[in-house]
Subunit: 208 residues, 2 copies
C-alpha cells in the first residue's frame, strides 16, 4: 500500500493483520475505511460525504478520524488505495498472460463496487488539481507502471512490435475496463472472458 | 452556446410572463441548461446540485424550471444531451476517416468541460438503474449506433475482418476517449493526433 499521507501507519497496519492480537486502533482504521467505501458505493458523492457520516457509520468519534487523516481528501485516497489492494505482481512468463491477469484484476467480481466508488469520487478528482495529482501518483501510476513494465518486456523479448506506442497501448488496455466499470458503457460486451478478448484484440495489432 | 447574463435572462423571463413569446421561453430554457452545465463543470456533483441553485444561476424562478422538467433527473439528461450536440453523421467514404472523425468528436477542445460534466453526473448514474437506462438510451446508444454502423459497413466492404467483434471494438474505440476525458487517465498520451493514433492502432488488428 503506497498511500502518501499515512504510508508508515499503513505498514504497521499490514503487520497487524498478520498477528491475532491486533490493536484497537487498527480495527478502528479498518472500520473507518470500510464506512467510506460503503457510503461511496451506495452512491453518496465524495462531495456530499461528511466526516460526521463516516464517523457515525464506523462507530467512532470524529476526533479518531482527524487524528489519523488531516482532511477528507487524504481519507478518500486511502480508502481507494485500500479498495484497490496491493499492486499486482505479474508472473513474468508470457506477455499475453500477464496482460490478461492485469486486466482481469481490474474487472473482478467486485468491479461493480469498485466502479461505483470511483464514479462517486470523480467530482472530487476533477474539481481539484491537487486531488487529481495525489490520485494519479498514489493509485493510478503504480498500477500503470506494472503494465508498462510488461509491455516493455514484450518489446525486448520480441513478443511485441519494436515500434509499439507503449503509452497509447496502456490506455487502450485500461480505458475499456474503466468505461465498463464506471459507466457499464457497453452492456452488449459480456464480462465473461472480457480480459482475454480485449488483450487478444489488442495483441493482434501489437505483435511484430 | 454562451451563458446569458442574469440581467438579460431576467428580462426574457419578464417578457415571457407578459406575452406569448415562445422563442423567448426557449431562450430561458437555454439559460437553464447552461446553468446546469456550468455548475457541473465547476465540480458541483449532480447529487448536491439543487433546483434552487440552477434557478438562481439562470436568473429564473423555480416554477419556470418545474414547468418544463418534471424532476432533476430529466433536467440533467436534457443538459447532457444538449452538451453532446446532434448525433454525428459520418461522411461514409472510408471507414478509417469516419472513425477518426467520430473519436475526434469525443475529444474536442471542450472535452475537458465535457469530461468534468460527465464525471460530476456519474454518482447519479450509478445510484439509480432508471437514470442509467435513460442515459444509455438517450445519450450513449444513439452515438454508439452511428459508430456501429460504420464498423458494419467496413465489414461488408471488406475494409474490416469478417469476424470482427463489433461490440468489443466499439468499447475499444470509445473507452480510451472516455478514460482521458473523465480521468485524464494517462497524461503521457498527447491530445494532438489522439483520434488518428487510436484508430490506426485498432485498425491494425481489425483489418482482414
Amino acid at each position: 500500500m503506497e498511500a502518501m499521507t499515512t504510508a508508515s501507519v499503513d505498514a504497521v497496519a499490514d503487520q497487524d493483520r498478520k498477528g491475532p492480537g491486533r490493536p484497537r486502533s487498527a480495527r478502528a482504521d479498518e472500520a473507518i475505511i470500510e464506512a467510506v467505501l460503503d457510503l461511496l458505493s451506495a452512491g453518496q458523492s465524495a462531495d456530499a460525504l461528511s466526516i460526521e457520516a463516516v464517523a457515525a457509520k464506523a462507530g467512532v468519534g470524529k476526533a479518531t478520524i482527524y487524528r489519523r487523516w488531516p482532511n477528507k481528501e487524504a481519507l478518500l485516497i486511502d480508502a481507494v488505495t485500500t479498495m484497490k489492494g496491493p499492486v499486482p505482481e505479474p508472473a513474468g512468463v508470457s506477455v499475453r498472460d500477464d496482460l490478461v491477469a492485469l486486466i482481469a484484476g481490474m474487472r473482478t467480481k467486485r468491479m461493480h463496487h469498485y466502479g461505483k466508488v470511483t464514479a462517486c469520487l470523480l467530482p472530487e478528482l476533477v474539481k481539484g488539481e491537487e486531488m487529481h495529482k495525489v490520485y494519479q501518483a498514489g493509485v493510478v501510476e503504480p498500477r500503470r507502471d506494472v503494465m508498462r513494465g510488461v509491455l516493455r518486456r514484450g518489446i525486448e523479448s520480441g513478443e511485441l512490435r519494436a515500434d509499439l506506442d507503449v503509452e497509447l497501448t496502456l490506455l487502450m488496455l485500461s480505458g475499456p475496463a474503466i468505461a465498463q466499470n464506471m459507466l457499464r458503457w457497453n452492456p452488449a460486451v459480456p464480462d465473461e472472458g472480457f480480459a482475454e478478448h480485449l488483450v487478444d484484440a489488442i495483441l493482434r495489432g501489437a505483435r511484430p
